[in-house]
Amino acid sequence: MKKYSYLLLIFLLINGTVSFIEAQQFPIPKDVYTAFEFLKKSKTSDMLYINDTVVYLMSNSPLEVFPGYKDIYESHNLPQNLPLPSMPLGSRVNLPDTYYVIWCLKDSILYLSDINISRASFCDYKSFFPNNEQYILMEKLTKVKFDKKYPLPYKNELYLYHNTIGMMPATWYNDTILIKISRGQYLGGQGKELPIFCSDLNDTIRIKRPAPPMELDKWKKIASEELVFKNGRLISRKTTDIY
Protein backbone atom coordinates (compact mmCIF):
# COMPACT_ATOMS: atom_id res chain seq x y z
CA MET A 1 0.00 0.00 0.00
CA LYS A 2 2.85 2.33 0.93
CA LYS A 3 4.47 1.59 -2.44
CA TYR A 4 1.31 2.75 -4.26
CA SER A 5 1.20 5.88 -2.15
CA TYR A 6 4.76 6.74 -3.26
CA LEU A 7 3.82 6.11 -6.89
CA LEU A 8 0.75 8.32 -6.53
CA LEU A 9 2.87 11.06 -4.91
CA ILE A 10 5.42 10.90 -7.75
CA PHE A 11 2.61 11.04 -10.32
CA LEU A 12 1.06 14.07 -8.65
CA LEU A 13 4.42 15.83 -8.46
CA ILE A 14 5.13 15.26 -12.16
CA ASN A 15 1.63 16.26 -13.14
CA GLY A 16 1.83 19.41 -11.03
CA THR A 17 5.20 20.34 -12.50
CA VAL A 18 3.95 19.89 -16.09
CA SER A 19 0.86 21.96 -15.35
CA PHE A 20 3.03 24.68 -13.80
CA ILE A 21 5.31 24.80 -16.85
CA GLU A 22 2.31 24.90 -19.19
CA ALA A 23 0.81 27.74 -17.19
CA GLN A 24 4.00 29.79 -17.65
CA GLN A 25 3.94 29.51 -21.43
CA PHE A 26 2.09 31.99 -23.60
CA PRO A 27 -0.85 30.52 -25.43
CA ILE A 28 -0.03 29.60 -29.00
CA PRO A 29 -3.36 29.07 -30.75
CA LYS A 30 -3.21 25.56 -32.18
CA ASP A 31 -4.60 26.65 -35.52
CA VAL A 32 -1.65 28.92 -36.31
CA TYR A 33 0.19 25.73 -37.26
CA THR A 34 -2.50 24.70 -39.74
CA ALA A 35 -4.41 27.89 -40.63
CA PHE A 36 -3.39 31.32 -41.87
CA GLU A 37 -1.46 29.75 -44.74
CA PHE A 38 -2.08 32.82 -46.87
CA LEU A 39 -0.51 35.17 -44.31
CA LYS A 40 2.49 32.85 -43.98
CA LYS A 41 3.01 32.93 -47.76
CA SER A 42 2.42 36.61 -48.36
CA LYS A 43 5.46 38.77 -49.07
CA THR A 44 3.82 42.12 -49.72
CA SER A 45 1.60 44.73 -48.07
CA ASP A 46 0.13 45.66 -51.47
CA MET A 47 -3.66 45.62 -51.79
CA LEU A 48 -5.91 44.83 -54.72
CA TYR A 49 -9.34 46.34 -55.38
CA ILE A 50 -11.72 44.26 -57.47
CA ASN A 51 -14.99 45.65 -58.76
CA ASP A 52 -14.31 49.04 -57.31
CA THR A 53 -15.12 48.32 -53.69
CA VAL A 54 -13.85 44.95 -52.43
CA VAL A 55 -10.27 45.00 -51.24
CA TYR A 56 -7.99 41.95 -51.14
CA LEU A 57 -4.60 41.08 -49.68
CA MET A 58 -1.95 39.84 -52.12
CA SER A 59 0.73 37.17 -51.87
CA ASN A 60 3.23 38.98 -54.10
CA SER A 61 3.69 42.41 -55.56
CA PRO A 62 3.56 42.70 -59.37
CA LEU A 63 6.51 45.06 -58.93
CA GLU A 64 8.74 42.16 -57.85
CA VAL A 65 9.97 41.74 -61.41
CA PHE A 66 11.80 45.07 -61.07
CA PRO A 67 14.97 44.72 -58.98
CA GLY A 68 15.27 47.35 -56.25
CA TYR A 69 11.60 48.33 -56.39
CA LYS A 70 11.47 48.61 -52.62
CA ASP A 71 14.13 51.35 -52.62
CA ILE A 72 12.93 53.68 -55.36
CA TYR A 73 11.89 56.35 -52.84
CA GLU A 74 15.10 56.20 -50.82
CA SER A 75 15.98 59.84 -51.50
CA HIS A 76 12.61 61.09 -50.26
CA ASN A 77 13.15 60.47 -46.57
CA LEU A 78 10.30 58.03 -46.18
CA PRO A 79 10.09 56.53 -42.69
CA GLN A 80 12.73 53.75 -42.63
CA ASN A 81 13.34 50.74 -40.39
CA LEU A 82 10.15 51.25 -38.46
CA PRO A 83 8.76 48.73 -36.02
CA LEU A 84 5.49 47.29 -37.29
CA PRO A 85 2.33 49.18 -36.37
CA SER A 86 -0.37 47.43 -34.38
CA MET A 87 -3.32 46.67 -36.64
CA PRO A 88 -6.22 44.25 -36.99
CA LEU A 89 -4.73 40.99 -38.26
CA GLY A 90 -5.73 40.29 -41.85
CA SER A 91 -6.79 43.83 -42.70
CA ARG A 92 -3.43 44.39 -44.39
CA VAL A 93 -0.32 42.20 -44.51
CA ASN A 94 1.87 43.77 -41.85
CA LEU A 95 5.44 43.98 -43.15
CA PRO A 96 8.23 46.53 -42.59
CA ASP A 97 7.97 48.09 -46.06
CA THR A 98 8.33 51.84 -46.53
CA TYR A 99 5.52 51.98 -49.06
CA TYR A 100 2.81 49.76 -50.53
CA VAL A 101 0.88 49.85 -53.74
CA ILE A 102 -2.87 49.86 -54.37
CA TRP A 103 -3.76 47.80 -57.42
CA CYS A 104 -7.06 47.71 -59.26
CA LEU A 105 -8.55 44.95 -61.38
CA LYS A 106 -11.03 46.47 -63.81
CA ASP A 107 -12.46 44.75 -66.88
CA SER A 108 -9.85 42.00 -66.42
CA ILE A 109 -6.93 44.46 -66.67
CA LEU A 110 -4.56 44.98 -63.75
CA TYR A 111 -3.72 48.61 -63.00
CA LEU A 112 -1.35 50.26 -60.56
CA SER A 113 -3.73 52.81 -59.09
CA ASP A 114 -1.93 54.47 -56.20
CA ILE A 115 1.09 54.44 -53.90
CA ASN A 116 0.74 54.66 -50.14
CA ILE A 117 3.52 55.48 -47.70
CA SER A 118 3.57 53.18 -44.70
CA ARG A 119 2.92 55.19 -41.59
CA ALA A 120 2.36 58.58 -43.16
CA SER A 121 -0.93 60.32 -42.53
CA PHE A 122 -2.99 60.37 -45.69
CA CYS A 123 -3.04 64.15 -45.49
CA ASP A 124 0.74 64.56 -45.16
CA TYR A 125 2.03 63.26 -48.48
CA LYS A 126 3.20 66.64 -49.69
CA SER A 127 5.88 66.69 -47.03
CA PHE A 128 7.41 63.65 -48.75
CA PHE A 129 6.41 64.26 -52.35
CA PRO A 130 5.75 68.01 -52.83
CA ASN A 131 5.37 67.56 -56.60
CA ASN A 132 3.91 64.04 -56.66
CA GLU A 133 7.33 62.58 -57.49
CA GLN A 134 6.15 59.13 -56.42
CA TYR A 135 4.38 58.68 -59.76
CA ILE A 136 7.31 59.88 -61.88
CA LEU A 137 9.70 57.52 -60.11
CA MET A 138 7.25 54.64 -60.56
CA GLU A 139 7.01 55.36 -64.29
CA LYS A 140 10.82 55.28 -64.49
CA LEU A 141 10.84 51.91 -62.78
CA THR A 142 8.15 50.22 -64.88
CA LYS A 143 8.66 52.13 -68.16
CA VAL A 144 4.84 52.46 -68.32
CA LYS A 145 2.94 55.75 -67.95
CA PHE A 146 0.05 56.69 -65.71
CA ASP A 147 -2.75 57.71 -68.01
CA LYS A 148 -5.88 59.80 -67.43
CA LYS A 149 -7.80 57.59 -69.81
CA TYR A 150 -7.76 55.03 -66.96
CA PRO A 151 -9.40 57.04 -64.14
CA LEU A 152 -9.50 55.64 -60.62
CA PRO A 153 -12.84 53.89 -60.19
CA TYR A 154 -13.11 54.18 -56.41
CA LYS A 155 -16.26 55.68 -55.07
CA ASN A 156 -15.31 55.10 -51.45
CA GLU A 157 -12.44 56.17 -49.24
CA LEU A 158 -11.49 58.91 -51.68
CA TYR A 159 -9.41 60.61 -49.04
CA LEU A 160 -7.01 57.67 -49.06
CA TYR A 161 -6.01 58.30 -52.65
CA HIS A 162 -3.74 60.97 -54.02
CA ASN A 163 -3.60 60.00 -57.64
CA THR A 164 -5.13 62.56 -60.01
CA ILE A 165 -3.26 61.47 -63.15
CA GLY A 166 -5.01 58.16 -63.88
CA MET A 167 -3.88 54.59 -63.43
CA MET A 168 -0.97 52.65 -64.92
CA PRO A 169 -1.79 49.37 -66.73
CA ALA A 170 0.53 46.61 -65.48
CA THR A 171 1.39 45.46 -69.00
CA TRP A 172 4.67 43.89 -67.84
CA TYR A 173 2.96 41.41 -65.56
CA ASN A 174 2.99 37.72 -66.54
CA ASP A 175 2.65 35.74 -63.37
CA THR A 176 0.37 34.15 -60.79
CA ILE A 177 -0.66 35.65 -57.46
CA LEU A 178 -2.80 34.54 -54.58
CA ILE A 179 -5.33 36.95 -53.16
CA LYS A 180 -7.50 36.78 -50.06
CA ILE A 181 -10.27 39.16 -49.08
CA SER A 182 -9.19 41.72 -46.48
CA ARG A 183 -10.89 41.76 -43.08
CA GLY A 184 -11.02 45.52 -43.37
CA GLN A 185 -13.58 46.77 -45.89
CA TYR A 186 -14.83 50.33 -45.92
CA LEU A 187 -18.48 49.46 -46.69
CA GLY A 188 -19.57 53.08 -46.64
CA GLY A 189 -17.99 53.72 -43.27
CA GLN A 190 -19.46 53.78 -39.78
CA GLY A 191 -20.60 56.40 -37.33
CA LYS A 192 -21.03 60.06 -38.04
CA GLU A 193 -18.78 62.10 -40.29
CA LEU A 194 -15.84 63.64 -38.47
CA PRO A 195 -14.02 66.80 -39.53
CA ILE A 196 -10.22 66.68 -39.75
CA PHE A 197 -7.78 69.24 -41.05
CA CYS A 198 -5.97 67.93 -44.13
CA SER A 199 -2.62 69.68 -44.56
CA ASP A 200 -2.17 68.49 -48.16
CA LEU A 201 -5.39 70.25 -49.13
CA ASN A 202 -4.99 73.05 -46.57
CA ASP A 203 -8.62 72.45 -45.79
CA THR A 204 -10.89 70.54 -43.44
CA ILE A 205 -12.33 67.31 -44.83
CA ARG A 206 -14.98 65.03 -43.36
CA ILE A 207 -14.26 61.35 -42.91
CA LYS A 208 -16.20 58.29 -41.86
CA ARG A 209 -14.24 55.50 -40.28
CA PRO A 210 -14.19 52.12 -42.05
CA ALA A 211 -16.75 49.51 -41.04
CA PRO A 212 -15.63 47.15 -38.23
CA PRO A 213 -13.34 44.36 -39.47
CA MET A 214 -14.77 40.93 -40.27
CA GLU A 215 -14.58 38.43 -37.38
CA LEU A 216 -11.16 36.79 -37.43
CA ASP A 217 -12.63 33.31 -36.98
CA LYS A 218 -14.90 33.84 -39.97
CA TRP A 219 -12.14 35.34 -42.10
CA LYS A 220 -9.70 32.49 -41.58
CA LYS A 221 -12.21 30.07 -43.12
CA ILE A 222 -12.36 32.01 -46.40
CA ALA A 223 -10.23 30.45 -49.13
CA SER A 224 -7.76 32.48 -51.13
CA GLU A 225 -7.98 32.72 -54.92
CA GLU A 226 -5.36 32.28 -57.59
CA LEU A 227 -5.14 34.88 -60.33
CA VAL A 228 -3.10 34.30 -63.49
CA PHE A 229 -2.06 37.26 -65.64
CA LYS A 230 -0.65 37.55 -69.12
CA ASN A 231 0.63 40.99 -70.13
CA GLY A 232 -1.40 42.47 -67.27
CA ARG A 233 -4.65 40.82 -68.37
CA LEU A 234 -6.41 38.33 -66.11
CA ILE A 235 -6.66 34.98 -67.90
CA SER A 236 -7.63 32.72 -65.00
CA ARG A 237 -9.26 33.05 -61.59
CA LYS A 238 -9.95 30.10 -59.36
CA THR A 239 -10.49 29.31 -55.69
CA THR A 240 -7.66 27.48 -53.91
CA ASP A 241 -7.47 25.36 -50.75
CA ILE A 242 -5.14 27.90 -49.14
CA TYR A 243 -6.76 29.71 -46.22
Binding site: A23, F26, P27, P79, L82, P83, M87, G191, I196
Partner: protein, 176 residues
Protein backbone atom coordinates in the same frame (compact mmCIF):
# COMPACT_ATOMS: atom_id res chain seq x y z
CA UNK B 1 -3.87 27.44 -19.45
CA UNK B 2 -4.79 30.99 -20.49
CA UNK B 3 -5.82 29.73 -23.91
CA UNK B 4 -8.52 27.61 -22.33
CA UNK B 5 -9.98 30.49 -20.35
CA UNK B 6 -13.13 31.87 -21.94
CA UNK B 7 -12.98 35.51 -22.96
CA UNK B 8 -15.11 37.87 -20.95
CA UNK B 9 -18.36 38.88 -22.57
CA UNK B 10 -19.32 42.53 -22.70
CA UNK B 11 -21.67 42.18 -19.72
CA UNK B 12 -19.04 40.28 -17.76
CA UNK B 13 -16.47 42.95 -18.52
CA UNK B 14 -18.85 45.56 -17.21
CA UNK B 15 -19.55 43.70 -14.00
CA UNK B 16 -15.91 42.73 -13.44
CA UNK B 17 -14.25 45.94 -14.44
CA UNK B 18 -16.93 48.32 -13.41
CA UNK B 19 -17.18 51.66 -14.90
CA UNK B 20 -16.76 54.16 -17.65
CA UNK B 21 -13.60 56.23 -17.52
CA UNK B 22 -14.27 59.96 -17.59
CA UNK B 23 -11.77 62.54 -18.88
CA UNK B 24 -12.19 66.24 -19.56
CA UNK B 25 -11.27 68.00 -22.79
CA UNK B 26 -7.79 68.80 -21.52
CA UNK B 27 -7.21 65.08 -21.06
CA UNK B 28 -7.37 65.17 -17.24
CA UNK B 29 -8.81 62.04 -15.64
CA UNK B 30 -11.94 62.89 -13.64
CA UNK B 31 -12.83 59.43 -12.33
CA UNK B 32 -15.00 56.40 -13.05
CA UNK B 33 -18.76 56.13 -13.09
CA UNK B 34 -21.67 53.96 -14.23
CA UNK B 35 -21.07 50.78 -16.15
CA UNK B 36 -18.89 50.02 -19.14
CA UNK B 37 -15.28 50.03 -20.25
CA UNK B 38 -15.56 53.05 -22.51
CA UNK B 39 -14.05 56.51 -22.26
CA UNK B 40 -16.33 59.51 -21.85
CA UNK B 41 -15.37 63.15 -22.34
CA UNK B 42 -17.16 65.47 -19.90
CA UNK B 43 -16.62 68.65 -17.89
CA UNK B 44 -17.45 66.99 -14.60
CA UNK B 45 -17.57 63.39 -13.44
CA UNK B 46 -21.36 63.34 -13.55
CA UNK B 47 -22.05 65.34 -16.73
CA UNK B 48 -23.42 63.12 -19.55
CA UNK B 49 -20.57 64.01 -21.90
CA UNK B 50 -19.81 62.15 -25.13
CA UNK B 51 -17.81 59.16 -26.29
CA UNK B 52 -14.08 59.39 -27.04
CA UNK B 53 -14.83 57.99 -30.52
CA UNK B 54 -16.65 61.20 -31.42
CA UNK B 55 -14.15 63.58 -29.81
CA UNK B 56 -11.90 65.81 -31.91
CA UNK B 57 -8.37 64.63 -32.78
CA UNK B 58 -6.84 67.09 -30.27
CA UNK B 59 -8.94 65.74 -27.41
CA UNK B 60 -8.20 62.13 -28.38
CA UNK B 61 -4.50 62.99 -28.36
CA UNK B 62 -4.69 64.56 -24.88
CA UNK B 63 -6.64 61.65 -23.38
CA UNK B 64 -4.27 59.12 -24.94
CA UNK B 65 -1.32 61.11 -23.58
CA UNK B 66 -2.75 61.02 -20.04
CA UNK B 67 -3.33 57.27 -20.30
CA UNK B 68 0.08 56.73 -21.86
CA UNK B 69 2.03 58.88 -19.42
CA UNK B 70 0.39 57.07 -16.50
CA UNK B 71 1.70 53.83 -18.01
CA UNK B 72 5.21 55.24 -18.28
CA UNK B 73 5.09 56.17 -21.96
CA UNK B 74 7.36 59.12 -22.66
CA UNK B 75 6.10 62.24 -24.45
CA UNK B 76 2.77 63.18 -25.94
CA UNK B 77 0.82 60.75 -28.06
CA UNK B 78 0.21 62.05 -31.55
CA UNK B 79 -2.62 61.48 -34.00
CA UNK B 80 -2.29 59.98 -37.44
CA UNK B 81 -4.87 59.41 -40.19
CA UNK B 82 -4.33 56.12 -41.93
CA UNK B 83 -6.13 53.13 -43.22
CA UNK B 84 -6.92 50.54 -40.57
CA UNK B 85 -3.90 50.53 -38.24
CA UNK B 86 -4.40 50.97 -34.50
CA UNK B 87 -1.21 52.80 -33.60
CA UNK B 88 2.53 52.92 -34.26
CA UNK B 89 5.79 54.10 -32.79
CA UNK B 90 8.03 56.38 -34.83
CA UNK B 91 11.68 55.81 -33.84
CA UNK B 92 12.72 59.00 -35.65
CA UNK B 93 11.12 61.21 -33.01
CA UNK B 94 10.36 58.64 -30.31
CA UNK B 95 6.62 59.36 -30.34
CA UNK B 96 3.69 57.00 -30.40
CA UNK B 97 0.81 57.83 -32.77
CA UNK B 98 -2.78 56.61 -32.56
CA UNK B 99 -4.82 56.34 -35.76
CA UNK B 100 -7.87 58.59 -35.48
CA UNK B 101 -9.32 56.80 -38.52
CA UNK B 102 -8.82 53.36 -36.97
CA UNK B 103 -10.73 50.84 -34.91
CA UNK B 104 -8.93 51.61 -31.66
CA UNK B 105 -10.62 55.01 -31.49
CA UNK B 106 -13.96 53.95 -32.99
CA UNK B 107 -14.24 50.94 -30.63
CA UNK B 108 -13.55 53.18 -27.60
CA UNK B 109 -12.56 50.35 -25.27
CA UNK B 110 -10.30 51.54 -22.42
CA UNK B 111 -8.62 48.16 -21.97
CA UNK B 112 -7.96 47.76 -25.68
CA UNK B 113 -6.33 51.18 -25.70
CA UNK B 114 -4.10 50.40 -22.70
CA UNK B 115 -3.17 47.03 -24.19
CA UNK B 116 -2.26 48.42 -27.63
CA UNK B 117 -0.30 51.24 -26.00
CA UNK B 118 1.66 48.62 -24.03
CA UNK B 119 2.69 47.02 -27.30
CA UNK B 120 3.80 50.38 -28.69
CA UNK B 121 5.51 51.22 -25.40
CA UNK B 122 7.77 48.21 -25.90
CA UNK B 123 8.84 49.67 -29.25
CA UNK B 124 9.48 53.01 -27.58
CA UNK B 125 11.61 51.33 -24.89
CA UNK B 126 13.62 49.29 -27.41
CA UNK B 127 14.28 52.05 -29.89
CA UNK B 128 17.31 51.19 -32.03
CA UNK B 129 17.01 47.50 -31.18
CA UNK B 130 19.73 45.20 -32.47
CA UNK B 131 17.60 42.09 -32.94
CA UNK B 132 15.65 41.21 -36.09
CA UNK B 133 12.31 42.97 -36.59
CA UNK B 134 10.57 39.62 -36.05
CA UNK B 135 12.24 39.17 -32.66
CA UNK B 136 11.35 42.74 -31.68
CA UNK B 137 7.69 42.19 -32.63
CA UNK B 138 7.66 38.87 -30.78
CA UNK B 139 8.91 40.50 -27.59
CA UNK B 140 6.46 43.39 -28.00
CA UNK B 141 3.56 40.93 -28.02
CA UNK B 142 4.92 39.21 -24.90
CA UNK B 143 5.15 42.60 -23.19
CA UNK B 144 1.56 43.39 -24.23
CA UNK B 145 0.18 40.03 -23.07
CA UNK B 146 2.03 40.22 -19.76
CA UNK B 147 0.22 43.41 -18.79
CA UNK B 148 -2.90 42.97 -16.60
CA UNK B 149 -4.94 44.99 -19.13
CA UNK B 150 -4.76 42.00 -21.45
CA UNK B 151 -7.15 40.09 -19.19
CA UNK B 152 -9.86 42.63 -19.98
CA UNK B 153 -9.41 43.43 -23.65
CA UNK B 154 -12.13 42.78 -26.22
CA UNK B 155 -12.32 39.36 -27.85
CA UNK B 156 -11.06 40.84 -31.14
CA UNK B 157 -7.89 42.31 -29.66
CA UNK B 158 -7.24 39.17 -27.61
CA UNK B 159 -7.75 36.87 -30.60
CA UNK B 160 -5.66 39.04 -32.93
CA UNK B 161 -2.81 39.43 -30.47
CA UNK B 162 -2.36 35.76 -29.61
CA UNK B 163 -2.71 34.81 -33.28
CA UNK B 164 -0.15 37.42 -34.34
CA UNK B 165 2.16 36.18 -31.61
CA UNK B 166 1.59 32.57 -32.66
CA UNK B 167 2.32 33.34 -36.31
CA UNK B 168 5.59 35.01 -35.36
CA UNK B 169 6.37 32.03 -33.13
CA UNK B 170 5.77 29.59 -35.97
CA UNK B 171 7.49 31.58 -38.70
CA UNK B 172 10.56 32.83 -36.88
CA UNK B 173 13.98 31.37 -37.46
CA UNK B 174 15.64 30.68 -34.17
CA UNK B 175 19.34 30.55 -33.32
CA UNK B 176 19.41 28.32 -30.28
Amino acid sequence: MASSLPALSESEQKSCNGESFVYDQSGAFLGERGTGNDIIIASTLYEAGYALSTASPDIVSRVMTTIGNNMGIVGTIGITYENRIYAYHDPNNGRIYVNYNGDLVSNNNYYDIVSILRYEQYHQMTIGYSTTWEQNEYQAFIYQMNDPSFQNVSWNVRNETVTNFGLLHVNQTYNP
